[in-house]
Symmetry: C2
Amino acid sequence: MANIKPSLAKGTRDFSPREMANRNYIFNTLRAVFEKFGYSEIQTPSFENLSTLTGKYGEEGDKLIFKILNSGDYLAKTPADLLKEKSSNKLIPYISEKALRYDLTVPFARYVVMRQHEILLPFKRFQIQPVWRADRPQRGRYREFYQCDVDVVGSPSLLNEAEFVLIYQEALRALGLKDFTIKINNRKILSGIAEVIGKPELIVDMTVAIDKLDKIGLEGVNKELLGRGFTETDLDVLKPIIMLDGSNAEKIASLKEILVASSIGLQGVAEIEEVFDYVRNFSVPDLLDSAVEIDITLARGLNYYTGCIFEVKTNEVSMGSIGGGGRYDDLTGMFGLKDLTGVGISFGADRIYDVLEELKLFPVSSSVSTRVLIANFGEEIYQHTLPLLFQLREAGVAAEFYPAATKLKKQMAYADGKQIPYVLLVGEEEIASDRYSLKDMTSGEQQNVSLEQLIAFLT
Amino acid sequence: MANIKPSLAKGTRDFSPREMANRNYIFNTLRAVFEKFGYSEIQTPSFENLSTLTGKYGEEGDKLIFKILNSGDYLAKTPADLLKEKSSNKLIPYISEKALRYDLTVPFARYVVMRQHEILLPFKRFQIQPVWRADRPQRGRYREFYQCDVDVVGSPSLLNEAEFVLIYQEALRALGLKDFTIKINNRKILSGIAEVIGKPELIVDMTVAIDKLDKIGLEGVNKELLGRGFTETDLDVLKPIIMLDGSNAEKIASLKEILVASSIGLQGVAEIEEVFDYVRNFSVPDLLDSAVEIDITLARGLNYYTGCIFEVKTNEVSMGSIGGGGRYDDLTGMFGLKDLTGVGISFGADRIYDVLEELKLFPVSSSVSTRVLIANFGEEIYQHTLPLLFQLREAGVAAEFYPAATKLKKQMAYADGKQIPYVLLVGEEEIASDRYSLKDMTSGEQQNVSLEQLIAFLT
């Protein structure tokens, strides 16, 4: 074999023991919250038939789908003219019939349609799996990354929206975050605004522009709106809407005035009020005031959402949104199953990881598995050290025995590097006295303990 | 969008909530054992550079690697003659530079080589991830399946082999299995046998043949040996070896006689004896007699292993091996890092799943997440039901509220289908009395409880 220097595929990452422990901490924390709210985990395969994925993510999305080359003599049945012309795009269906999962939503819709006769509605599921995109890698953007979705299908009740507000709160607090904002909007409010201005056909242009308020400011938004077919008169109407300020109650009052002529717009406001009512009923009196904020510039995947729209950001570090979601009234229409409503949220695991790292919120315990290392002083006393190791593990203590009688310094360095908090010294003296020396690797202190004391201390 | 009937890609599976809960139960049980023995989890990306994987699994293996088509205009730089000839194989390096993980070992070796200067030896890692193979799907064989590997690199001590025997025992018992056999062999014994016969160059042919003893019997093995270059005289020498019988002690005694002229063979026997000594020292006196068996017909990936070889089977149901492993003295040589010894075992998660299913060993609790469903009797009393739901969850009870005030029968059917063990009935009467009716969905019995009693009962 050639002596090649191996490398990672572009845009991918290995996860070391410490990173894995931290990632598992995040996923297990989220999993526990989802399960407490009655959601069940499912998984779908890493690759799907290409036809299942194609056409679901727009033209740009289609290009970012990783296609898998057919096995065997994959060129055998390809049209000679496509090869001759080097028509990369047209050739794809001939040489690739499978593709890697691009998100969790489309495979979930496929799952629901295939199992529509066995699934009990409302179906509450969560899914934590990697997805793959042929994006240009850059800082914080990978070609393989995890998505973490929670959805309920088959229930139009706004109770679900209220529960998602609670899930966000409980999950983020469980992860140690203290200051975050759950932004809420409603697609119907956006429709209402476009209707009030008299340009319902420009709703997408309008939302694309006002979604950028944070980044480009009012002047920038206005410039973009003019370029997209709005007039100066429209801008005058839009300005108080875009700059909507005050408490949630004040925003609701303003929106009711602004949207008085649009029944769909008022419905959107009413939906948010209903969600707020439920959240209040849930006995979380301060949640609405402290962490929930109406933001009518929030659009997120507008073509997709039909009701409430969510987005979450932390206020403790500078970071984009760490989650989002909303209601979509046609989850499974793409596979011919009509009128199945869904609502869901997602958590951005990679960004949450970075936030917790920056705020030093990962518990030390999550990355330390071994509690004690028994130092190895030679084979002659294995009949004492091995039973000791066995008894510690029987008592549930994660324990290791250094597998060679090398210099103690080297064994200590191993414990240190692996962040093992204690080293147990078992020499001939200790065996004779039936008491062992336990060294605390942080303080450097040593104590003399019996086996019972040792187990009691470590458990 | 066309009304297409979606389907799964060939050879792949969805995992429903019940299956996921059971799979998580297996993985979490294994994970806990691995961590107790001081192993840390890592993960590598789903795809690697094609050059990292090619040539590592033999010619047949290479064909089974799923290649990922390059993005964009992937045909642009392909040689016209290869396209014209439709040379599927030769074209691959031009249109594919990435491929899906085929096993966990090669990516792990790549990981170790890339991090050789930061990794602390011995490096004890485990890895539980899917792998993909373009095999023809059949019953029990999938194109996407999980591997579950535990390895230590950089430690030649046979203590590690002894610990793997303990890990197998502890993990399988933790999963509820009672009767299993951990078979052990040593590559050096096989070398010794070939040496004693005077045909060391036929070691691979010999082991391939005797590995089939279980399936084709002694006559079949003999026939195959004759076809592979052995003589009748050789068969006479081999017969007592192949049919080696008795206790482990008796087998060791016989092997020492048979291999008296082969120092490598005797070394193999001595290694097994040393492993047995350690296991005995670990205070598991009956483990060796009850569950460990020397089996010199065991070969498993002979070209790979250099020392002890393991294989595990359950004796409770008819099933192939549910795990295996061994020592390999050149894990990272393929990437130019020489003389790094490794030893490891793996667990066959899919087969273990089938075994536990057949023996009904999955705990009921693993597939039930929600403990109680609060029935919905209408929006008028949400100010009572929602706080109740909130308080149950605050107390750590996984609880759901049916999101619509539909017929009780339908709500009960939901609880039933989701195997929720209790339904809480909260009507106006209950609110007035501050006591609730809790229905046990298994027995059908109903009891009248206060909130405190309810929480005490459900936690």
